[in-house]
Symmetry: C2
Subunit: 219 residues, 2 copies
């Protein structure tokens, strides 16, 4: 198996037509503080990697059950799982139920914290550039995704928003935002990367849950 990507929260190996993800114990944050919406590594906590993988498996299965196509194949052990290889689209597709995190920092006083949004946003996946926001016309003209693919990503993301929104509502929790990534495989799009506490923010009693807390909710 060949290491093809060393990421902040996981390493990715290639295995024939599959990818093997190894989930690390690194914690994401913003300005040195732990924040599941953050984009920098702010520390480590034992068991975090296996907690994220447990969540990823759970959410991928939840989406598949609801008709969303994903790249998930199976979990191998506590820290590793097997996925279908795809041609990755370098975008993060963000669904914002409510205004939080970078959206508040970006637009300041014109938005109220936790104001209802229900919008899809795209950012260009680039650590060097700080994952800048990118609008649909630019995505198309820069050849990142076609108009048809943009529409499909938005439609799938809204469907995932319904599924996750309902799931957390039934648990007495509130999901504030989540992000998806997409890859091309055999002419169609699959939800790729992971879906876990690292890619969503869930609120309980006025506080955003940490990954391990989220795991308690799922189990």
């Amino acid at each position: 198996m060949r290491l093809i990507y060393r990421g902040k929260t996981k390493d990715v190996y290639e295995d024939g037509d599959f990818l093997i993800f190894y989930f690390k114990d690194s914690l994401l944050g913003f300005n040195g503080e732990e924040d599941t919406g953050g984009n920098e590594v702010v520390g480590e906590r034992e068991g975090k990697g296996s907690a994220v993988l447990k969540q990823a498996e759970f959410f991928f299965k939840l989406l598949e059950k609801n008709g969303i196509k994903t790249h998930f194949v199976e979990r191998i052990d506590k820290r590793r799982a097997k996925f279908l290889k795809t041609e990755r689209i370098p975008l993060e597709v963000i669904y914002r139920f409510k205004a939080y995190g970078s959206f508040l920092r970006r637009y300041g006083e014109i938005v109220k914290p936790l104001q209802e949004l229900d919008i899809v946003e795209f950012t260009l996946k680039s650590d060097a550039l700080g994952d800048p926001l990118i609008c649909e016309e630019a995505i198309e003209k820069l050849g990142i995704a076609s108009r048809k693919e943009i529409e499909e990503m938005k439609k799938t993301t809204r469907k995932v928003a319904q599924i996750l929104g309902e799931f957390f509502r039934n648990k007495g929790l509130e999901i504030l935002d989540f992000k998806l990534e997409f890859g091309r495989r055999k002419g169609g799009l699959l939800v790729i990367d992971e879906i876990s506490g690292d890619t969503m923010r869930v609120k309980k009693d006025g506080r955003v849950l940490k990954q391990e807390e989220l795991l308690g909710v799922i189990g």
Copy 2:
């Protein structure tokens, strides 16, 4: 007359149902260097204010002649002009013929300098926030403009792009980008603010022209 706004390149006074703009000699730039696409004052040059007003008058008349509704009423003297009062929409609507300036800084290596784009982008008008990019869903959900207004702004901006593109082509020049602002008046939208060398970038022989040089082109 009451001073209602002190801006980087102009001061705005209220006069009944009209606004009076006083054009200053300040130069716009980026990182201390003169750049007509910049957003900070980097110096002053005598005659710059009157040059910009001459251009604004010229371009507003050019647009009006081509069926675009604007807030321009008349020039008063070398430095002042009269405009219709409107309810200003706090957006900059940017048309990018080619990739230049902030677009290149924002998206780095995935875009080639001067790559053809022909796209409309919106930024939120806020010096404090650095005029952040904002996509259509957010504009609508934050109540900045309605879906209908967004469509009208895009349509008008594309029409202005045709007019300006043809104008400069006929002069043997190339316009790279420009920005418009819009205001509401009596249920419709008008192009407001100014249209001049301060709000567009025009290339001649591989170099972006300064305001005074642009004036030579128009005359």
